[in-house]
Assembly symmetry: C2
Homo-oligomer: 204 residues x 2
């Protein structure tokens, strides 16, 4: 299909598609003439993912490009590439260190992998430090409730990841970023539902 | 204690304490003379909460003041006041509407309270819309895994809320805001732990 049809199919303007091409978020089509190229279904999918990463997840073009670069990783490097792709996701700005003692203590308590190079480790350290400095440190009792609830969710998530390495990274990055706000909103709504019963709010 | 001692106890500068007093985040002390006031343990606590809301949670002074205003709500209005306090928390910017069809369908499916005036409802609608537009709409199968995991966490959260209405609002707002980043980081770490087993990453 021509770029005009790719635009019609994806709902993304030709100007934005040309921007994606220039910035390396969309791979070139097959050249038909000096001014015309042919695009296929793979381009339609890629435009959808590029738009999701930039518009919905809010990544910079540079972060999205880094994720697309990792799509080509061979299967043997999939685990490491996944970690690098995830590191592009917000929140940014967690301090870098060789060791993250609060996060390490939590992960050792749970028996989960502790790899300080994985971006979620400094993020957990930062969240634990913030809770502590606000006078509400995470207790072991709370952790022992949170961890199994979250782990059951994560096990389902990982089971849904496609086998194809390229699709696996795409799915993992989008699924992590898109379903986090769903989970956060669901927790607040569960709070409300539970509190309504306890405090006599409006009934369902 | 004098303001200098309140500063030493809380680690917050006298200039910031005066700012809190001026902006209504900290209640006045007992006047001792034209230039000196006496502060007590309640002030120490309030400074800690004010700092957590502004520095850690990232609220504006106006949002923090609105939450403090709700601390005085009578017990009969606690459920409603809790909802108003929660509405000050990020994320902001979810569109206002009379009805949120995607969020309503999810809450009806779960049998949870649906109250479109509660801020988490438009937040859920926005998250569901984003996932849909990125080509990963939330399936019922996924919802049926996410909801019980999140609900077990929320039930624990609500059980920890103190009985005193003032403390209840403070605890609920801080606990909601501070433990969300912990849960998000834990989910990413659970992903990594589960994926390491599946993909042959580094072992624990």
């Amino acid at each position: 299909m021509l770029i005009s049809e790719l635009s019609a199919r994806t709902g993304v303007s030709v100007a934005t598609l040309k921007f994606y091409l220039r910035e390396g978020l969309l791979m070139p089509g097959t050249t038909l003439s000096a001014t015309r190229s042919d695009y296929d279904e793979e381009h339609v999918r890629r435009v959808g993912v590029a738009r999701a990463l930039t518009d919905v997840v809010g990544l910079s073009v540079q972060q999205a490009r880094e994720i697309f670069r990792l799509f080509g990783a061979p299967r043997a490097e999939l685990f490491e590439s996944l970690g690098l792709a995830m590191a592009q996701l917000p929140p940014a700005g967690a301090p870098e260190a060789d060791d993250y003692p609060r996060a390490r203590a939590v992960l050792e308590h749970l028996g989960w992998l502790y790899d300080p190079r994985y971006a979620a480790v400094p993020q957990l350290e930062q969240a634990l430090t913030a809770a502590e400095s606000a006078g509400l440190p995470l207790s072991d009792a709370r952790l022992d409730v949170y961890a199994p609830g979250i782990r059951s969710i994560a096990e389902y998530d990982v089971a849904q990841v496609p086998d194809d390495p390229e699709r696996a990274i795409e799915y993992s990055v989008l699924g992590t970023a898109l379903y986090e706000p769903v989970l956060v909103a669901l927790r607040r709504l569960a709070h409300q539902d539970v509190a309504a019963a306890r405090l006599g709010g409006p009934s369902t």
